[in-house]
Amino acid sequence: MTAVATRPKPFLPNGSTQLTGTRTLIRLAARRDRVILVIWLYALTASVASTAYSFRHLYPTSYERARFATGINGNASILAVYGPVYSHSVGGLTAWRIAVVAAVGAALMGIFTVIRHTRADEEAGRLELVGATVVGRQAALAAGLAVALGACLVLGLFIAAACAALGLPASGSLALGAAVALAGCVFSAVAAVSAQIAGTARAARAIAASVLGAAYLLRAVGDSASGLSWLTWASPLGWAERLRPFAGQRWWVAGLSVAVTAACAVVAGVLATRRDLGAGLLPDRPGPARASRWLRSPFALAWRLQRGSLLAWMIGFAVTGAVLGSAAKGIGSLVTSPQLRQVMIRLGGRAGLINAYFVAILGLLGVIAAAYGVAAVLRLRSEETEQRAEAVLATPVGRLRWAAGHLVIAAAGTAALLAVAGLSAGLAYGQRSGDVGSEVSRLLEAALVQVPAAWLVAALVLALVGLVPRLAVSVGWGALGVVTFLTLFGPVLQFSHWVLDVSPFTHVPKLPGGTFTVSPLLWLAGVALALTGLGLAGLRRRDLS
């Protein structure tokens, strides 16, 4: 922290401001991001367009769509994931299905873009090189934010154009584009603030992503639990729904996003002028002069490096499990239509509905746990490319022992996350339903059956690290993206089984409520093991970079 009052005015030539040089930096950022941003824009626009296209073909008549919509609005599990249906037009269903998901995608795009051009550059020392030229103190921040906001706005226009081209009403198309773009803007600005607070890019991304997670959770509860719908209004992702594209657009909601974006941008700008280059807001405390007794093996080092992020993930999973678990109690009380009663009875009554809710929630948490596994495995790759592995491997530590440290944490961490989520969901739901013991064991089991599928995704990434290291990061996250897409959209878009079977999560027993079969779990774990072997063999044989 620095004393603000005593800082001399930085020397800048006549007419210069804190923003001098922003335009050049924007060009630099756009040049560096030209591939990755195009991929983001294409993937998000395509998912919106394909959703609209499928709804038009799967539910061509208004009657079919109305029936579909009624079913949704009584199903808390779907409400929690996607939000309510406001209109059963093709546009309305498209907006319901895609608005929140695309908003999360746009938010991630914004977060990654802003952090890449601010804190990540600062941490790598590149900003120092730039900062020594005639460049204002806020220029890098402004450039990163400008590129991210620009990308979000282009995304909004693409989405609007794609929807309009598919024959949806123009104003609704524009509103859907705006809803997605504005969510991206809000979280870009949140990332701009987190980049000032945190001292490392990793921490900055974690802070912004936690805010995003909390926003998703708020609206999930607000949309699914009765009497809590005001929570949706507290979430920037909720605003994407409440803008109501294709359902009598409420344009004033966009004002909320614009205001929050502007406020966060101003806060970030002020923080940027008040801190030292390279420093976070939290001062660096000195560390121990000696390593503790247990820090003496590659595994201990991996644990030391990953324990902080695992702990943060654990807290996230525990909170999510508890919130969604306690929200389950309200499910079913919303059901009023006779049609839906029929559906409910078919599903096995209210208990069946609640089971379906937990199947959906825990399946989603399984995919998110797989994301943790992917990140933990990719630590191997970043340790290698940032030359830190070299220091360890120049000691009598073999490559397999070095890799094993990180792999054990990835595998055990993934399992622990799901266990924590199942446990906290069971405790929360059991407390409210009055049967803690059986709910805990039921939901713990339902959470743990996801583990082999999550392992398989992480093991695939390990195989990439071992065999095609240059592609490991992009293809690895891409594979997770495909799995996420299939989990979220597969069933409703009625893909063929061949497509759905690509995702390991398709094969997980549908617990609670479904029948437990051990064989898919065994072969999922077997494939994961084989991929691990393949990856390790590759890692042993190849050159390290």
Binding site: G287, R290, A291, L305, A391, A394, P396, L544
Partner: protein
């Protein structure tokens, strides 16, 4: 056959990355107990050689023996006996320097506690700082302390002083000197001629992935000529007849020449006789040496194979 006397034996090593050829038949031989300079400009293949020796990458062709073993297949066992300092030290940002030193020491199988304390003091390194707060030089010191305090019989140092200030460079030289007295072998890669001159018993010069010269320092003395530019009171006498004076250029009272170390005294005596108005002396930079002696296709006689060319041209 070689374990006692030869620490590193590399012959005909080749390695390419895609289309770029990093090593093109490199030979390198380091005897046990010697401090061996591994000298070459940036991008000449020094780091690639070291990475092959550490078993991090596999050579395309040629043989490499390290402490009598195969650096690729026996990496783990061989690493018990060596310590390594990379040229560009990156550390785990949230570990303190002290933690990194202890960790690397323990992974190597032990740390000389007394030497650790002495080195921390000598390098004026604060071990409680987090690694992300260290400057390049301080990160390098962390790696140096970890390596020098390890008691390993072979030290592989890749441009270890590139981030150190002159005082710390002196501290580094003292430490390597102590290690030499303790019978350790050191492979010191560098592109700084004076550093290699000050520390090394023998030198291998590498250019474009090939050893162009190797031998002891005396035999490479021609690399250490001093460039002199002097303004004298009267024209000098007899300089052109002195051995060890090269590229002499006398214009009136202005004298420019290259002088071998052994001839310096005599040249200066002649200067003083003539009266000195101004005098500029410069050691040749490595770039000049390379320009003069090792431009493409112009390898010195007897160069690569291990016998040094004592006399240039």
């Amino acid at each position: 056959m070689c374990c006692v006397t030869v620490a590193i034996e590399v012959t005909g090593l080749r390695k390419s990355f895609g289309r770029t050829c990093a090593l093109d038949g490199l030979d390198l031989s380091v005897a046990s107990g010697e401090v061996h300079g591994f000298l070459g400009p940036n991008g000449s293949g020094k780091t690639t050689t070291i990475r092959v020796l550490l078993g991090l990458i596999r050579a395309d062709a040629g043989t490499a023996r390290l402490l009598g073993g195969d650096p690729w297949h026996e990496a783990t066992t061989l690493h018990r006996r060596l310590a390594y300092v990379p040229g560009d030290v990156t550390l785990w940002p949230n570990l303190s320097g002290g933690e990194v030193i202890d960790l690397l020491g323990r992974l190597r199988g032990g740390l000389d506690e007394k030497r650790r304390a002495v080195l921390l003091e000598r390098f004026e390194l604060d071990p409680t700082k987090k690694s992300r707060a260290y400057s390049k030089g301080n990160r390098q010191k962390v790696a140096l302390v970890a390596a020098l305090a390890s008691g390993a019989e072979l030290l592989i140092l890749d441009e270890p002083t590139s981030g150190l200030d002159p005082l710390m460079e002196a501290a580094f030289r003292d430490s390597v000197e102590e290690d030499r007295r303790n019978g350790r072998t050191v492979l010191l890669s560098s592109h700084i001629l004076s550093e290699v001159e000050a520390l090394c018993d023998r030198v291998t010069i590498i250019r474009a992935g090939r050893a162009v010269d190797t031998g002891d320092l005396a035999s490479l003395r021609h690399l250490t000529r001093t460039a002199i530019d002097a303004e004298l009171a009267r024209p000098p006498e007899g300089l052109d007849r002195l051995p060890g004076v090269h590229d002499l250029d006398v214009v009136g009272t202005r004298v420019r020449c290259q002088v071998d170390g052994a001839a310096l005294e005599e040249v200066l005596r002649r200067f003083i006789e003539a009266g000195v108005r101004s005098l500029v002396c410069q050691p040749p930079t490595l770039e000049q040496v390379f320009l003069q002696h090792y431009t493409d296709g112009d390898r010195p006689p007897g160069g690569a194979a291990g016998t040094a060319s004592a006399v240039p041209e």
